[in-house]
């Protein structure tokens, strides 16, 4: 592999590849603004995710690491337990399945939602 191939080109790529990445980013900024963690704590959490072996050389999985770091930081602070996030994510998946194409996905559409 030549060195040129190792360094991704990516000069004019969009900042966020998908909306969830922007939301994960903005949530982190907002939670920090609220004083729920310091930026050093965040950098430490993110660092321990991105340095895991298997991180993609082209950086396309960066926001996956970002999200994992946010989840682990929130879990360690007792702000969002992993089991709660798992359950809520499943509810969102069910809601998405139950929502007709072209309509906004709402949590209310989850067929198993307790009303």
């Amino acid at each position: 592999m030549s060195r040129r191939e190792e360094l991704p080109p990516g000069f004019d790529e969009p900042v966020f590849a998908e909306p969830w990445q922007a939301e994960a980013f903005a949530m982190t900024v907002a939670l920090h603004d609220k004083g729920l963690f310091s930026w050093s704590e965040w950098a430490q959490a993110l660092s321990s995710e991105v340095k895991r072996p298997g991180a993609a050389a082209d950086g396309h999985d960066y926001y996956e690491h970002w999200l994992a770091a946010l989840e682990s930081l929130l879990a360690s602070k007792g702000l969002a337990a992993k089991s709660d996030v798992d359950a809520m994510a499943e509810a969102w998946e069910r809601a998405a399945h139950a929502t007709p194409h072209g309509k906004p996905i709402l949590l209310e559409n989850d067929p198993q939602r307790i009303r």
């Binding site: 000069f11 900042v15 939670l31 950098a43």
Partner: protein
């Protein structure tokens, strides 16, 4: 009864987890979904390398400002209302005839957001983070920047508390140019150190 899945929406697992976090945190009153939208919009459209380019152009034109930027970049940049949200300090590193400066974050992806917006993908990717320190000259060549062998390259490793802005050298032939015109010569890469200021056309 089986569902007709042809018309179903799919949320990818990451999107579902982000929504789950958002729901849980909003229910606890820890985030306001409207504020999240504002932050996304700000970083996508309002904060970007134009901010940093203005800092550089001002420093080129105004020696007193350049001096302030050298001594206390946080305050000099803050005077243009570009302030970091993470309470980080800024340091401006000036390229000279002898020395070229290059910025990296080996730890994760610390970056001077307030003046450059969000980092490009390559800045966050492992090859740049690991190689910028070990082989800066080789990395710069891959960016199409070949520096004279006797030019020193100084690599600055960003942290959560301290972020760097490279002030490239002012191109020849720009005497008397306005700040706006000068700012157009200053690219994002020039302020990370993977490029130089553009030459006037």
């Amino acid at each position: 009864m089986s569902h007709d899945h042809d018309h179903d929406n799919e949320l990818d697992p990451f999107a579902a987890r982000v929504r789950a976090l958002e729901t849980i945190l909003a229910q606890k009153g820890l985030i306001d979904p409207a504020a999240i939208d504002v932050i996304v919009d700000t970083y996508e459209t309002k904060i970007g390398p134009r901010n940093g380019a203005r800092v550089v152009a001002k420093a080129w034109r105004d020696p007193a400002y350049a001096d302030w930027l050298k001594r206390d970049a946080t305050a000099a940049i803050g005077s243009l209302s570009y302030t970091g949200r993470q309470g980080e300090h800024m340091q401006a590193v000036f390229n000279t005839q002898d020395t070229h400066n290059l910025v990296v974050c080996t730890l994760c992806s610390c970056y001077p957001w307030s003046v450059l917006g969000l980092p490009p993908v390559w800045y966050k990717a492992p090859p740049y983070r690991s190689r910028a320190v070990i082989d800066p000259r080789g990395v710069l060549e891959e960016f199409g920047l070949t520096l004279p062998a006797d030019k020193k390259i100084r690599v600055w490793d960003s942290t959560a508390e301290l972020r760097y802005l490279v002030v490239p050298m002012r191109p020849e032939g720009t005497e008397g140019w306005s700040e706006e015109r000068l700012a157009e010569l200053v690219s994002r890469d020039a302020m990370i150190g993977t490029g130089l200021a553009e030459q006037p056309a």
